[in-house]
Symmetry: C2
């Protein structure tokens, strides 16, 4: 049958669906594992509810900061809390620009208004930045500080890039997103390739969400355990069970994998 | 947070997602069980890809037959085969009309052109009607026979209603859809209520898809087994395993549950 090609908005939605379904993914919500308050259905409903915002991004209707804020708002209509904030930080520029070079051009055009809207998006989530300076988003007057310094959203991401691998993508040319997409192609197709690519990133990159939540030692330990799975001295199921027990959730690498899936799908990667 | 209310199109998509995720559902694809050639991801991607057609239905842009055909086409862009044909037969009028009374008004307006488009939709799927008369959709000249008899799509559904519970909904006022929605409210909220409502339908209604595939005896046997689960003399997991082993798939009741979820969501049923 002749098939209509997926739009960038649909690629973004499918990337969100494929990531959360892939199983087993150590520590994250997947097909066979919910968090206590956030379920598979919450993640999937976010993939549905975000569609109008992705379509605006695709049409060039809206600035990146406002679109990220609208994506957070559109997906907050359930009780599962924040499901995809980090993913939206990557997907919104990618959908706006179509691909990585286009995303970087869109990022280069961000303004102080984008930065302020982004801070407002943060306020809608329960995500904490844990920064101690006056740009801490949880600090009253932070938006004023942005305006006084004339910081664009790209500047904000550079400011956070040292301890946040998602923010770093904005200033390093989506390096890990690119690496993840290449891993997907190298790992084959479908669900197993997603798991293998995720594991390869987990073994080679320190998840900054884990570092913030549990400290850098635990983040390093996670990498070593992922390598044990790759080497066959530990099963992925055992690692999943341990991460769940200890509340270890490689959330930033999940965001990176979603962006990688978006890019790979656009380059013809086979998800089936 | 102030929340935008779900649109009818989004309710239809969410109904598709919630149905396929609910677990355990004896014999059907669910969170923890794929078919050999159709996976959870195929069902979920159909829920994403159908969106433009649901939006047209919601806007009153298009006749029911053409919209059903377009929904089949939009969701055929994967290798998982037909995932939701029966569900679209119910959801397209429901989304077009908003609710059951509106759906019945839309159905009353169908024409011969709708019937012909519907036959073309059938041609896009591998679904067989197994009827032996000259209106058999698999028979060359069937569309011509429709025109000669002046049959509208509603007439076609009446013609099939005796051996197809999905078609019957068009002419009985969505009786099982209504019953399913009421069951959802009675069973509580969230995933478990979907499983319980599905089981209650399985115990009280003969699935016509099973009857066509395996004969009326097996369809009756399925009802008895579902009652055993309700009475506690058989576990739902054991029934699921037996259905999978025997290739028994209550596909028509799954379609009814999707329509029931759509209606219940519109009446404030809590999916979380």
């Amino acid at each position: 049958m002749t098939c209509v090609e997926m739009t960038p908005a649909e690629r973004g939605q499918l990337a969100m669906v494929l990531e959360v379904c892939a199983y087993p993914k150590p520590g994250n919500v997947d097909r066979c594992h919910d968090y206590a308050s956030t379920t598979l259905e919450h993640f999937l409903s976010s993939a549905i509810f975000v569609r109008p915002v992705f379509e605006r991004a695709q049409a060039g209707d809206g600035a990146l900061g406002a679109l990220i804020k609208d994506a957070v708002r559109a997906t907050s209509c359930h009780e599962g809390g924040n499901t995809h904030f980090g993913a939206f930080i990557l997907l919104i520029p990618l959908i706006s620009g179509g691909d990585i070079p286009g995303a970087l051009r869109a990022i280069g055009r961000t303004t102080v208004d984008d930065a302020v809207a982004f801070y407002e998006a943060f306020g809608l989530t329960k995500v904490r930045m844990l920064e101690r300076d006056e740009l801490d988003v949880n600090r009253p007057g932070a938006a004023q500080a942005l305006r006084e310094r004339g910081m664009t959203l790209r500047d904000v991401m550079r400011h956070s890039s040292g301890n946040d691998m998602v923010a770093a993508e904005w200033v390093n040319g989506f390096a890990l997103t690119r690496k993840g997409a290449d891993l997907l192609f190298r790992c084959g197709s479908g669900r197993q390739a997603i798991v293998d690519a995720f594991l390869a990133l987990l073994a080679s990159e320190k998840d900054t969400f884990i570092a913030k939540e549990h400290g850098p030692e635990v983040a390093r330990e996670v990498m070593l355990h992922a390598r044990e799975v790759q080497e066959g001295t530990r099963t992925i199921e055992a690692l999943d069970a341990e991460f769940i027990r200890r509340g270890i959730n490689p959330g930033s690498l999940a965001d990176i994998i979603i962006a990688a899936l978006y890019v790979a799908l656009g380059e013809g990667w086979q998800w089936e």
